[in-house]
Subunit: 383 residues, 2 copies
């Protein structure tokens, strides 16, 4: 028998059985009345989860496709774009703006630290002609949550359109685009939304539509105007990933049944338990507590332990898959996701496996100490 | 109980149980060894089905995304592109080239007729500076198969890169890109390949790579160089639709077990039975026999019968979903697909339902006559 896989990477995340079941449904015509109704229902449910009254479009692509949609529809060559970069996904967003010819003003924050608002303010003050600001909610590569509310307040005052990559955060952590002034919000199916990869979700504010109307960059598959027109008529502009739509509706139902606030509290609790466990084992976290992601935890690999060896042992012997570091953090950290379809015992079993693997690799620890720290958090109740 | 749906539209097509089962598998990490191996196996199987030794990249998007990849990676503003248009999908390909700034030379062929090679030759002779030719294998909107071998011979002689939209044809009808001189071949999962929508497949020749290297148009998610680099390292450049990959492997296994030649013969037989049945009922076909698609049949709606009424009755009373006409053919034709996971009795039951519905709508016919004509074709053996 194949080893039982415990997936603790920050996407794709485990899929609940209700979602798998929904995805196994027979195909339907995507221009049928039934599928148009499903798309309309989904829009409503997604607006609740994304906490926006803006239209939400579902694109058949990974999250990166959603980010490209945001950029391709708003950036003209030579436009001044402020990119807030603190990790791999911030870099990707910056690269996208460059590909579309933007004059990118890049603000680099140390990997593992959040975006600094004073620095952002200074750049916005210096450049009144910035048209677009690119920010990341949950920088998956560093397990840092950025202060989107604060960034939103600054961009709103400045006048620029704010685009937020919420690919790995949305549905697991508070995000209020309308209240905070986020104009284009991008997320994807395979993170906290608990659906296999293949769908990007994009919400668009009136302010963003004004910029989109002035954008001359080529786009067809990712055209947001095409999406808007087609949604007004029936649903997606091009053939949607029907089975993933079925799965997405099942997943949104699960989230709305649990209740958004409860889902957020569960993520905070799992994250706190993971952090406390790591600290109890004498491990250091990459990110400061005050900006620690509720979705993923980045642990600095202890001296003498090779991250590659650790991850291999965890996978081969215990079926536990952690993520490694990316970019400049490669080989320096490992990342434990607690995102989407995750509960108390997922955290505890992953910590138990981590203890055993570290022990085998010669790192001195007291077995069970990390588990006990997590248990204490759970018995202590919600954060 | 919901009505039992018989899906006879040209995509999405019915999904075999083996594919649904594969898609219900738990998630895995897309950068894992196992998933890299699956991608490598899939590449080999797809090369067999696409009959090419060129690399095949799987993009998470609908077929239109694959078409945009072909254009965005090859077309610079001002490039001279020859677009062969004979239906809605030919128009889409032309539109894509325009979006990327091409100087499009459009050859329009009457909807329901194939591309005329003499006309193509004349244009190629007149314009030695054409860099790209866009052609459609199976024009789904008219049920016409184009002579890609003939077009390939002309473009090879001319020197232009040939891009073929084989979205709705590939896996159901002969297509030999390497032998025929097709440089970029695009197809998608939800047609003859029997997988839900969400994946586009793109093969790229050495000649096409030369053009791609010179292309300055913006692309990121659909960058074929990014795909090539990432495949060399592990697999797709961005997070793939993991469950659809599982389904695609199950589907390619089914196709290769049946044998490509047998799959093609089955499609030809089903198409012939459908055409004979339609003719036996006194119905006229849109396309001439010699270029009739083996994947879909376009029937001209008889005088006095409203296509909308017919399709509604078929769906409401018999659960049979035919496609209507698109663009200028809207309201004039209906289309019966026999594509992918389709067999003798799928054709016969759809014809039986058509007979009953036409009869109810006052069209004079002898019940069972169309069914009998199809039966005769089946008893007569392979085409």
């Amino acid at each position: 028998m194949d080893k039982k896989l415990r997936l603790l990477i920050p996407g794709p995340t485990p899929v609940p059985p209700q979602v798998s079941e929904a995805m196994a449904r027979p195909m339907v015509g995507h221009r049928s009345k039934g599928f148009a109704e499903l798309t309309a229902r989904l829009t409503g449910k997604l607006q609740q989860i994304m906490q926006t009254s803006n239209p939400v479009f579902i694109l058949t692509s990974s999250g990166t496709g959603g980010l490209e949609a945001a950029v391709a529809n708003t950036v003209n060559p030579g436009d001044k774009v402020l990119a807030l970069v603190g990790g791999k996904f911030g870099e990707r967003f910056r690269d996208l703006a460059r590909v579309y010819g933007a004059e990118v003003i890049e603000l680099d924050f140390p990997w593992g630290q959040p975006v600094d608002l004073a620095t952002v303010k200074k750049q916005l003050d210096t450049h009144p002609d910035i048209t677009l600001v690119l920010a990341t909610l949950n920088e998956t590569s560093t397990a840092v949550i950025n202060d989107i509310e604060g960034i939103g307040a600054l961009t709103r005052k400045h006048g620029a359109v704010l685009v937020v990559d919420a690919v790995s955060g949305l549905g697991g952590v508070e995000m209020k685009p309308d209240e905070w002034g986020v104009d284009i919000l991008v997320t994807a199916s395979q993170k906290a939304l608990m659906v296999p990869p293949g769908l990007a979700l994009v919400s668009v504010s009136d302010k963003a539509w004004d910029l989109i109307a002035k954008c001359k960059s080529p786009r067809y598959y990712f055209s947001l105007e095409a999406a808007r027109k087609s949604y007004a008529k029936w649903n997606t502009a091009y053939t949607p990933a029907v089975s993933l739509f079925f799965g997405l509706e099942a997943a949104t139902d699960l989230i709305l049944e649990e209740g958004l606030e409860n889902v957020f509290a569960r993520h905070r609790l799992l994250a706190r338990a993971t952090r406390e466990a790591a600290k109890a084992l004498g491990l250091r976290l990459l990110m400061p507590e005050e900006c620690a992601s509720p979705l993923v935890t980045a642990v600095i690999s202890p001296e003498g332990v090779d991250v590659g060896d650790l991850r291999k042992l965890l996978l081969d012997k215990y079926g536990v898959l952690f993520a490694g570091g990316q970019g400049e953090l490669s080989g320096r950290i490992f990342r434990i996701a607690h995102m989407g379809y995750a509960d108390h015992l997922d955290v505890i079993s992953s910590i138990a496996a981590l203890e055993m693997a570290l022990s085998e690799l010669g790192y001195g620890l007291e077995l069970g100490k990390g588990v006990a720290a997590a248990q204490k958090v759970f018995l202590g109740g919600a954060n």
